[in-house]
């Protein structure tokens, strides 16, 4: 009997270590729920999922880059650009302060597609600068992020809009951001769809394997005949598309858009990815991990506001929790003795 408890204890500890991140998240939820039991409700779950949705999509884009051992600082500004572009095209013709005067209602596929194409182009630009011009990814994407923020500001400032926050979207567009089916928000479903898509792409296709290979050891990949240029172009383009999609949904969800949308999302995304097990040295990363990473950040933010922690204290507490969570999580890798 004594023996068996011993084994059980050990098993529990191992289990705890292997699932550090989940344990931390559950502990966090438990503490918040203890302070304010209402936290354990469907509404809260829905809110958190909804707030996480666009973030997940951005983080998925970022994950591609991190797996391929790149870096991308353009995510946030891409979100902003896509939000403004899609917003400017999704306005109802009846709106009194239109971005484009005298246009008919465009099918909402138009703003979505145009933004996604813009995202694709900028992603390709990133990829080209990194893969062909050999500019370190950090600088390349910082450069594009400045560049597109500039473009976005210029576009947003076009008369007659003159930098007024966009609004007056068509019903269908607003619905995309705020609607739900069977209680599940559309944008959460879209985020879910993206997760499934990325999961399949990474784990079930040759392309996915090649991305991991390039990130894990670029030399090895190159010597095995993998076209590094192609892979890098792909990951940056894919990221661009996902960022743009997130931007569109952010515009739809908030019912507005300004050129400041998305500011800082890139760092949040990188942080979520790393918390979720990606490494900046490349070659690792899972969709599940990134999902938990994003969720942790959103549970903390939402939860702390929920129990009424002041904004200033929130930062203090957030900083501590994030570090603690990862410090616990990394123990599972501590095989070296």
């Amino acid at each position: 009997m004594v023996q068996s408890t011993g084994v059980k204890k050990k098993f529990n500890k191992q289990f705890f270590l292997n699932n550090g991140l989940y344990v931390v998240m559950l502990a966090l939820i438990a503490v918040i729920a203890f302070i304010s039991p209402k936290f354990l409700s469907l509404v809260v779950l829905r809110d958190i999922l909804m707030q996480s949705s666009t973030r997940i999509i951005v983080a998925l884009g970022c994950m591609f880059i991190l797996i391929a051992a790149g870096a991308d600082l353009s995510g946030g500004r891409m979100v902003g650009f896509a939000a403004v572009v899609s917003g400017s095209l999704a306005q109802a013709s009846t709106y009194s302060n239109p971005f484009f005067v005298n246009h008919a209602d465009l099918p909402i596929l138009v703003p979505v597609l145009v933004s996604v194409v813009v995202g694709l182009i900028i992603g390709m630009m990133n990829g080209y600068i990194v893969a062909k011009l050999d500019v370190p990814a950090f600088i390349a994407t910082l450069g594009t992020s400045m560049f597109i923020y500039g473009l976005n500001s210029l576009y947003f400032n076009l008369p007659p809009n003159n930098s007024q926050p966009l609004g007056g979207y068509q019903k269908a567009f607003t619905e995309l951001g705020a609607g739900s089916i069977a209680g599940i928000p559309f944008i959460t479903l879209i985020a879910l769809g993206c997760m499934v898509f990325v999961f399949i792409l990474l784990n079930k296709t040759c392309l996915g394997k090649e991305i991991y290979a390039v990130g894990g050891n670029e030399e090895a990949a190159k010597f095995s005949g993998i076209n590094i240029f192609k892979i890098q172009m792909f990951v940056y383009s894919m990221a661009g598309v996902l960022y743009a999609l997130a931007g569109v949904l952010e515009a739809a969800r908030t019912g507005s858009a300004t050129s400041n949308y998305g500011a800082g999302y890139e760092l949040d995304a990188i942080a979520s990815c790393i918390v979720g097990g990606c490494s900046i040295t490349g070659g690792v990363g899972t969709v599940q991990g990134v999902f938990v990473g994003v969720l942790i950040f959103n549970v903390i933010s939402y939860g702390l506001t929920f129990i009424g922690v002041s904004s200033y204290w929130q930062n203090v507490v957030k900083g501590i929790i994030i570090v603690a969570a990862v410090a616990i999580d990394v123990r599972k890798y501590r095989t070296k003795s």
Binding site: T205, L207, K209, E210, A213, N217, F223, G225, G283, K336
Partner: protein, 509 residues
């Protein structure tokens, strides 16, 4: 053998790097179904030539023919498409991925569903198992490569190169991190490939291997061709003479060292890692060269790293000069005058982007900073350069100058720099983990001479080696390890291949 047999021909290849003319009009003809050995000192240009043949480098001049047809490789894919595969001198494992993904990287078995290439995991697994079975390897295809030892990675690399079904397989020092058992596996594979008509270019610094398996031998010196010969026309001595450019009568120096009092004594050392060394006891005397033999996974490396303070010990004691010591880090070890030349040059040895100078003085500078400092605690560059130059000379390290980044040196020369690093710390106990891995005969002899000299001065030397001849040729005493235990001990003079192999494969009997 007619001209039609030639699958790969390289004609008058030139290759320049900034400040180095690596290849100078080198030509090579490789025939179907033969093993063509490529020999030369460290830095002779062997790897560079092969990288040209595999599309990694583009020669500055010269032509390449495949089956008599002139061709050009834009990249490695081109070379692979034309039937060439290569085992690289430096391993390139993708540590974060599984064994099978490493094998099939770039050409994963898949099904096409529309435009999408869906990975066929089952097929990949099956093909890997089949491949391994055919090669007599026993490795779990699902294991992460990061968890495997170097030797296993080397075997994987071999399996991968074979799996391409290439006409020409380039093997750049495939056995440098293999023990003899695994080398035998490789030779069996090579024999099979020859029968299938595959041509093999084989680079190695292990003399015994060359004459055993090769049909033809091409020798290079300083980036130029010395010549090509049929293997039966050659002897080891002849090859060595042509490689080095002078006569070398002996492979091992005369030994004058006399073992004295016990220097290092290890008692009952057990690792905290249950799969590692257990209850290990041994000693090494002053002026003694202790050889350590064993198969891959015998835990020799872990044991030595533990003695050096890098890995944790569960129980047991280490005594130096009869006094018990606590070694908790490399700096403790260095303070106790222990030096460890590590097994894996790339991961634990060189700092690639730093210069030869910085790499040479690294350990001494950390341990004996005062020797390089002025009264203001500033480093004196001249003293550091002097120390470095001393070894560049005495170990004849081939480098444009001491400011060159070490990553641009040939593998063997990197190894010499690292040996220099440790000799500078003036150790009393020198642990050498596979010290001559990737080192040419001439340089090997120099290293042996240094070992002998140190031992004669009363220093203790522990040498892990998987090369039997070296083990027997240099050791006063040999201990053999197996699965973490010491399974045998014998006198160097009376040791034989059989005795060592017997101990290495079983500790129970």
């Amino acid at each position: 053998m007619g001209k039609s047999d030639v699958v790969l021909e390289m004609r008058n290849i030139d290759k320049e790097f900034p400040g180095v003319k690596a290849l100078n009009h080198v030509s090579l003809q490789v025939r179907k179904g033969t093993v063509h050995a490529l020999m030369g000192e460290n830095g002779a240009g062997k790897s560079t030539l092969m990288k040209c043949a595999f599309g990694i480098y583009h020669p500055s001049a010269g032509e390449i023919f495949i089956d008599g047809e002139k061709t050009e490789f834009k990249n490695t894919r081109d070379a692979m498409d034309q039937g060439i595969s290569m085992i690289h001198q430096e391993l390139h494992p993708i540590n974060t991925r599984s064994v099978m993904e490493n094998i099939w990287v770039g050409r994963v078995p898949h099904r096409k569903i529309g435009p999408i290439h869906v990975v066929d995991e089952r097929k990949m697994y099956k093909e890997t198992v089949e491949l391994f079975k055919g090669l007599n390897l026993d490795i779990d295809p699902r294991k992460k490569v990061g968890e495997l030892s170097v030797s296993i990675c080397q075997l994987l690399e071999i399996a991968r190169a074979v799996s391409y079904g290439a006409k020409v397989i380039i093997m750049d020092e495939p056995t440098s991190s293999l023990t003899e058992t695994e080398t035998e596996i490789l030779f069996a594979i090579i024999k099979k490939l020859k029968v299938q008509g595959v041509a093999i270019i084989y680079i190695s610094h292990k003399m015994e291997e060359i004459l055993k398996i090769s049909d033809e031998v091409t020798i290079m010196r300083d980036g130029s061709l010395v010549g090509s010969w049929i293997a039966n026309e050659l002897t080891q001595d002849l090859i060595v003479t042509r490689m080095v450019g002078r006569e070398m009568t002996q492979r091992f120096p005369q030994r004058h060292n006399v073992p004295g009092d016990i220097m290092l004594e290890v008692e009952n050392l057990t690792s905290v890692n249950p799969h590692s060394f257990k209850g290990v006891s041994f000693h090494v005397k002053k002026g003694e060269i202790l050889g350590v033999g064993g198969l891959v996974g015998a835990q020799r490396t872990e044991l030595m790293e533990a003695i050096f303070g890098i890995r944790k010990i569960d129980s047991g004691s280490i005594k130096i000069n009869g006094k018990q010591v606590q070694i908790k880090s490399a700096s403790d070890a260095i303070e106790n005058k222990i030096a460890l030349l590590t097994e894996e040059r790339r991961s634990t040895g060189i700092v690639p982007m730093l210069s030869v100078l910085e790499n040479t003085v690294l350990a001494k500078q950390t341990a004996h900073t005062h020797k390089y400092q002025t009264s203001l605690r500033l480093l004196v560059d001249r003293k550091r350069a002097d120390d470095t130059l001393q070894f560049v000379d005495s170990l004849s390290i081939k480098t444009p100058n001491i400011k060159t980044q070490i990553q641009y040196l040939s593998g063997g020369n990197q190894q010499k720099v690292l040996l220099g690093r440790w000799l500078l710390t003036e150790p009393e106990i020198l642990i050498l983990d596979e010290p001559t891995r990737g080192i040419d005969v001439g340089a090997k002899y120099e290293i042996y001479t240094i070992m002998e000299q140190l031992a004669s001065q009363g220093k203790s030397i522990i040498m892990i080696s998987s090369e039997m001849t070296e083990l027997m040729g240099m050791s006063d005493r040999i201990i053999v390890m197996c699965e973490g235990y010491i399974s045998g001990m014998m006198d160097g003079k009376t040791a034989t291949d059989e005795k060592i192999m017997h101990c290495a494969s079983s500790h129970r009997n």
